[in-house]
């Protein structure tokens, strides 16, 4: 090479600095889009890798250094304990073990972040090695530059990452690299002594032209996107982009601090219930909305204890005694709390010694034995479903809200960051309704008639600056029960109606052919549900079902129907316009009730459909996506780099699959010529085949090529057209291709 190792190192260093910045352009979008974080630490790794290459560090030593760095990174970022302590090593190793087993079971979501980071590091490492090879051996970087640009263009097109200037930067750096490497190659092949002055003579004009064109490129107006993506794809990408790496599993979980994201279906049975009619199974309520999810009120938990058969007072009172009935519950899962129906009175039929306590906030009823929480296998609950008088409900008014005691302030809490438009929207859609009940129903209806879509898998997770409810209401309009119920609670609160968020299970599926009066229901994890309770002064707490596709509560006694049906509500002082408006609205409502049923059915169907589609539409988290994209890129690179190795093998396999009589010998022979040409055995234009065959045979010290060639020559130059048997030349042909591809 050259006599000046120091000079060479300096040149290499300059090149690697440029490469470092190109790699940075790779990392920037990845970090940006996948919420990966720790950009600087990744960049440091890149720098270390490049540096070890520059100083020609022994391979083993540099590997040890890199491994140590990766280890340090993992401990520093993931274990949260002291770096290199026994504890951190243990955490890490268990992480890796778990991830490995998850990987083996193809449970991509089960792979821990730390393990993903390891893979990512390895990918980086390989990439840098590849680049090193390109730069020092091949003296070209065009592949890397191309791949970088393709990567950026893809990201720019399919994600929210804006690569407008990144592409210009990469082009500048890439062309600089190309120019320098080309000069290098020229110097090397022509054995020119590398003097600094020569580099300057080459590089200065290059740099000047590049800078000029880059400045020009920066200054030029950029054309808009030429291709606009279909909406579904871009929303999907957005969700992928915004989301964290986890896919939730449906079912009851206590933690609701971070809502959102797609859900996996889970048809495992939670419990069976025998009851007169279908019921919503209530577990608890939550009060504090954090703009990302729900939390319990902080501070002490107050409880009240009860024995079995003792009446448990809840904030929603039981209905009339005549309606009193029981439900038998058989648990499949170990839940250490009671499934409540609306109008719950007491719990019975449990083993002696079991008692219950009710949490005052949240109203969760936990089961207890010997001062320890216990999961009951079966129990019976007595209840009487509450009924609300429509007459009374219509009388509720905003005036009553002012008289509310301060105790209800908890249920009016809203985060300060809640965007103003949520309140504006709530006011807007409820302003035509006088009664509080009407306002609440207006919100329920709003979801039904404004193109909100029930979906379990295309659900966004709010980003750092997003509000969960706001995002659903205005941006995505797509979600499942948590989106609908949380939104309704927030909307109710924003117009001053106390509300809380309720968790539990929906009715479940009715089991067929059950004898006796009671029906049996199977409740699975898929039935996990959330809904809304609002406090209406004069009425008390009342449940609402805002999620589209669900039937809701049958808890209103229509006692006004007969008297008030045709007459307008308040005919006296309204001016004409107002009247018309109201009539219009009412008419619309009538029409809508028809649509409503259709729509509900439709929604239900859709929900079912999504259930069916679920395993196909398995959603990949972004990290997995990024890893896959990266892996694909590397794979493509490897395929391109090693095409000389695998393409011949593929050709042989292809010919083996064909029937010998279908093989065109001419074609095969020319394939062989091509392969030999790729292998560096170039045939001169004016070289005869025999000549070439002798040359090839001499180089490979065989006689196969001459053998094939004389047969082929006979075929093309003679008038003796007897069909040449493929099998005659097959062996030699395969031998030559194999020989030159290895």
């Amino acid at each position: 090479m050259t006599n000046h190792p120091i000079k060479r190192t300096i040149v290499l260093m300059a090149l690697y600095i440029v490469i470092f910045f190109m790699l940075r352009e790779w990392l920037l979008p990845i970090v940006d889009l996948t919420n990966t974080g720790h950009l600087n630490l990744f960049l440091l790794f890149v720098a270390i890798c490049l540096l070890t290459n520059i100083v020609h560090l022994n391979g083993w030593i540099s590997a040890v250094i890199k491994f140590a760095y990766i280890l340090w990174f993992l401990m520093y970022v993931y274990t949260g304990t002291k770096v290199f302590s026994i504890e951190s090593v243990l955490t890490l190793s268990s992480d890796i073990q778990n991830s490995w087993s998850a990987l083996m079971q193809k449970d991509w979501n089960g792979v821990e972040n730390s393990f993903r980071s390891i893979l990512f590091f390895i990918l980086l490492w390989m990439t840098i090695y590849l680049i090193h090879y390109w730069v020092t051996v091949k003296h070209t970087i065009i592949h890397f530059l191309l791949v970088t640009i393709i990567f950026l263009v893809l990201l720019d097109t399919f994600s929210e990452y804006n690569a407008k200037f990144a592409i210009i930067r990469v082009m500048f750096l890439g062309l600089l690299l190309l120019g320098t490497l080309h000069a290098n190659r020229l110097f090397e092949t022509n054995a020119v002594e590398r003097k600094g002055i020569k580099y300057i003579a080459v590089l200065v004009p290059l740099a000047v032209m590049l800078i000029a064109s880059t400045v020009f490129a920066y200054a030029m107006p950029k054309k808009g996107p030429m291709v606009t993506l279909p909406k579904s794809l871009s929303t999907l990408m957005d969700q992928q982009g915004k989301g964290s790496s986890a896919i939730g599993k449906i079912g009851y979980v206590e933690d609701d601090k971070k809502l959102g994201g797609p859900f996996k279906m889970d048809a495992r049975v939670v419990f069976n219930a025998k009851a007169d009619s279908n019921q919503y199974w209530r577990i608890e309520t939550k009060d504090i909305y954090t703009s990302k999810g729900w939390e319990r009120k902080k501070g002490d938990v107050y409880v009240e204890a009860f024995n079995q058969n003792e009446n448990i007072p809840l904030t929603i009172k039981p209905g009339s005694k005549i309606d009193q009935t029981t439900a038998e519950i058989e648990m499949e899962k170990d839940f250490k709390f009671i499934m409540q129906t609306y109008g719950l009175m007491n719990v019975s039929n449990v083993e002696p010694g079991v008692s219950f306590y009710r949490e005052i906030d949240g109203e969760k009823i936990r089961s207890l034995k010997d001062e320890e929480e216990i999961a009951l296998e079966a129990y019976t609950i007595s209840y009487s479903s509450p009924k609300y008088s429509l007459k009374a409900l219509k009388k509720t008014s905003t005036k009553d809200l002012k008289k509310l005691s301060k105790d209800y302030n908890t249920y009016l809490q809203l985060p300060k960051t809640l965007p103003k438009r949520v309140k504006r929207l709530s006011k807007d859609i409820t302003k035509d309704e006088k009664s509080l009940y009407g306002k609440a129903n207006a919100i329920v209806d709003y979801f039904k008639y404004n193109n909100y879509v029930y979906s379990r898998d295309k659900v966004a997770i709010p980003g750092k600056n997003d509000d969960y409810v706001d995002q659903f209401l205005f941006d995505t309009k797509m979600g499942y029960c948590d989106n609908f119920s949380s939104s309704m609670v927030v909307m109710l609160r924003s117009i001053g109606i106390p509300a809380r968020w309720v968790k539990g299970f929906s009715e479940g599926e009715e089991v067929q052919n059950v004898e006796g009066e009671q029906k049996e229901f199977v409740i699975t994890n898929n039935n996990a549900h959330s809904w809304v309770e609002a406090y209406l002064p004069g009425i008390g707490w009342m449940s609402f079902e805002p999620t589209i596709g669900f039937e809701g509560f049958d808890n209103v006694l229509d006692d006004v129907k007969n008297q008030q049906q045709p007459t307008p509500i308040n005919p006296k002082k309204e001016d004409k316009e107002e009247k018309q408006k109201q009539q219009k609205a009412e008419k619309k409502k009538e029409e809508k009730t028809k649509e409503e049923k259709q729509k509900q059915e439709k929604d239900k169907k859709q929900a079912q459909k999504e259930k069916a589609n679920e395993p196909v539409m398995s959603k990949k988290s972004t990290m997995v996506m990024a890893t896959i994209i990266g892996a694909l890129l590397v794979l493509t690179l490897i395929l391109v780099l090693f095409r000389r190795k695998w393409i011949p093998k593929a050709i042989i396999a292809l010919y083996r699959m064909k029937k010998p009589e279908n093989i065109s010998i001419d074609h095969a022979y020319h394939q062989l010529l091509k392969q030999l040409d790729h292998a560096g055995l170039k045939k001169g234009n004016g070289q005869t085949l025999q000549d070439y065959a002798n040359y090839v045979d001499e180089r490979l010290s065989t006689t196969h090529m001459s053998k094939i060639t004389s047969l082929y020559e006979q075929r093309i130059y003679s008038n003796n057209y007897t069909q040449l048997d493929w099998l005659e030349i097959k062996e030699s042909w395969e031998y030559l291709i194999n020989r030159t591809s290895g």
Binding site: D666, H670, L673, G684, N685, G686, Q687, T688, L689, Q690, D691, E713, Q714, R715, I716, Y717, S718, N719, N720, Y721
Partner: protein, 316 residues
């Protein structure tokens, strides 16, 4: 293959006499088979005569030799009618050209008139004397030798007449080892005297017929034409190869293929023969001489740059 064996036998026979000159022997056989004539260009004493005699002996042919001198007349070559006073008639006495294999030694030493007489005889395979045409017995093969033209007192052959020769070749001096071998054999007496014929004249004529049956594919014909055209387009060439030259190359290639035991011509045959067939058929521009480029070099370059057909012609 029998034919090939016979032909190789002739080559071997010649090789017994001519040490290390296999390609010259082969080319001579090719020319003989293709019914063409050969121009040997070389200094005296490298064995030209020996070569021709060996060839003649191998095929059992009549060997005649004409030593060309400046004062040689056409009648000395073709023959003359002499008046016989006994029967009061002219009797034709055939000249040395009326042989099967004729060595025309130092052809450029004689006057153009005599040269023309020889060349005409070669072309027509017949001579016309005093209004009577006498055909020359077949096979008829002339091997003319010529001193390199730098020598004094020579009449260079006109370019148009060079065309009459199928091949032009140079013998060259033997290599060191070969020359020692030549000396060794010279000690034991003249090896030429011990040569016996390999084939008869009739067999030779059959072989000459076989040459015409050697198959030349369209792509190979195309290749030959490509080469000829390339000589016409070359920047150093004033006059390129004529279509007659293309025919000559094809015929020679056919003969060579037969010698190689093949029933079809390959581009290898064409490439091997092209320098010998073409080099005396092109006239160079003066620039070529300034640049020191010889016809052989030009043909070598053309061979390198002209694509060899490696696919079957489309109409098959």
């Amino acid at each position: 293959m029998e034919t090939q064996e016979k032909l190789q036998e002739i080559v071997r026979n010649i090789e017994k006499v001519m040490i290390g000159k296999k390609h010259i022997a082969e080319l001579s056989v090719v020319s003989l088979l293709a019914q063409g004539h050969v121009l040997l260009e070389d200094v005296p004493g490298v064995g030209k005569t020996m070569m021709v005699r060996a060839l003649a002996k191998s095929v059992g042919a009549q060997f005649k030799r004409i030593q060309f001198t400046p004062d040689l007349l056409p009648s000395d070559v073709l023959g003359v009618s002499i008046y016989n006073p006994k029967d009061m008639e002219f009797h034709f006495r055939p000249g040395p050209i009326m042989g099967n294999i004729v060595l025309a030694d130092e052809i450029n030493r004689t006057s153009p008139k005599t040269q023309a007489a020889l060349l005409e005889g070669m072309e027509e395979a017949a001579v016309t004397i005093d209004g009577e045409t006498y055909s020359i017995p077949k096979p008829f093969f002339v091997m003319a030798t010529q001193n390199p033209i730098e020598y004094e007192g020579t009449y260079p052959l006109p370019e148009a007449q060079l065309d009459r020769f199928l091949l032009k070749m140079k013998m060259g001096y033997p290599s060191y080892d070969d020359e020692i071998e030549v000396l060794r054999r010279a000690e034991q007496g003249k090896p030429i005297d011990f040569l016996s014929s390999v084939i008869t004249l009739e067999e030779l004529i059959t072989l000459q017929q076989q040459v015409k049956d050697v198959f030349v594919d369209e792509v190979v014909k195309g290749y030959i034409v490509d080469l000829s055209r390339a000589t016409r387009e070359n920047q150093y060439v004033y006059l390129g190869v004529s279509p007659r030259g293309s025919i000559a190359l094809m015929k020679a290639s056919q003969a060579y293929a037969l010698l190689r035991g093949r029933s079809f011509v390959t581009p290898d045959d064409v490439q091997f023969l092209a320098p010998f067939v073409f080099s005396h058929r092109i006239m160079l521009r003066p620039e070529a001489r300034y640049d020191g480029v010889s016809p052989e070099e030009i043909i070598g370059r053309i061979l390198i740059n002209t694509a060899v057909p490696i696919k079957r012609s489309a109409n098959q």
